[in-house]
């Protein structure tokens, strides 16, 4: 029984490579994820850039307020 299945499988395997005409849809690179990734990356990049600037402005403002207090105390 097992030998019969093995023999049948062996017969189905083609020898070497053979070309196929018309690439199946499942084998093509899908465009939608690439387009979505491109626009999503831009959005994320902008959000990240603005967040870093926002944080830096906040830090500088805090430092400035602290210095102003120290200057007032010194006087």
């Amino acid at each position: 029984m097992l030998a019969t299945v093995f023999f049948a499988l062996q017969q189905q395997i083609p020898e070497g490579f053979s070309p196929v005409t018309g690439v199946p849809v499942t084998e093509q690179i899908p465009a939608a994820p690439l387009v979505i990734a491109s626009y999503a990356f831009f959005l994320l990049l902008m959000v990240f850039y603005l967040w870093t600037k926002w944080r830096r402005i906040g830090k500088v403002e805090t430092e400035m307020r602290a210095l102003e207090r120290r200057q007032a105390e010194k006087r």
């Binding site: 690179i29 465009a31 690439l34 850039y49 600037k53 400035m64 210095l67 200057q71």
Partner: protein, 221 residues
């Protein structure tokens, strides 16, 4: 500029809401189909980067020869934007190339030179951050050389045979497909206005940092 800032934010936000809708509605290109839609932001980001490079180059020249503080702030702010837009340009190009060329990356003249250009401006920012006192002048020289490199990047596709589309793409697009041409111009305008906006905010940050340094010096005295 202070009065214009808020209206400009509103205009740019509206443009960035409208742009993806218009891109989704636009027709497919005949050979590349859907993936060609990356082009609209891909091209626009290089336009914004070109504006930032020009600002950095001019501001660096003014800083080197006149020593103006504002031009130094403009130079560092624009160099940062060159890197941000450059990274997006390379990333979106890579995604487009995956479908159009079948590879994530191709060492062709345009792609390689654009990478080098982004690296020059990344170098500029590193010199500014870690160069210590006097690094502003060294960075300004880098900014000038970076700006001088950009025309070579632009013409690279005409001078060398590469698989990247040539500079004639925009000219022929206007004749063959005016709708797409107008959409590219709209996206480019949105990106350039975004550059102006970010540049203004970033220059303000530099001005604040400069004021902070002055306050530290005043406190020490």
């Amino acid at each position: 500029m202070k009065k214009l800032f808020v209206p400009l934010v509103v205009v740019v936000a509206a443009m960035f809401v409208a742009a993806p809708i218009a891109i989704a509605e636009a027709d497919y290109e005949s050979t590349m189909l859907l993936v060609q839609k990356i082009f609209y932001f891909h091209f626009a980001t290089w336009m914004a980067m070109t504006v930032a490079i020009a600002v950095c180059g001019i501001a660096s020249v003014i800083y080197l020869f006149k020593g103006s503080k504002i031009s130094d702030w403009c130079a560092v702010a624009s160099a940062e934007l060159v890197v941000v837009f450059g990274v997006f340009g390379l990333f979106s190009g890579s995604l487009w190339g995956r479908k159009a060329w079948g590879v994530w990356w191709q060492w062709d003249a345009r792609v390689t030179m654009a990478t080098m250009l982004v690296l020059i401006f990344l170098g500029y920012l590193m010199v500014r951050k870690y160069g210590g006192p006097g690094s502003e002048k060294l960075a300004a020289a880098m900014g000038i050389f970076g700006a001088a490199t950009s025309p070579f990047v632009y013409k690279s596709v005409d001078w060398w045979r590469t698989i990247h589309p040539q500079t004639t793409v925009m000219r022929t697009l206007g004749e063959k497909w005016p709708g797409a041409w107008l959409l590219v111009l709209f996206c480019s305008a949105a990106f350039v206005l975004l550059t102006v906006l970010l540049l203004t905010a970033r220059v303000r940050l530099e001005a604040m940092r400069s004021r902070l340094d002055e306050m530290y010096l005043a406190l020490e005295d």
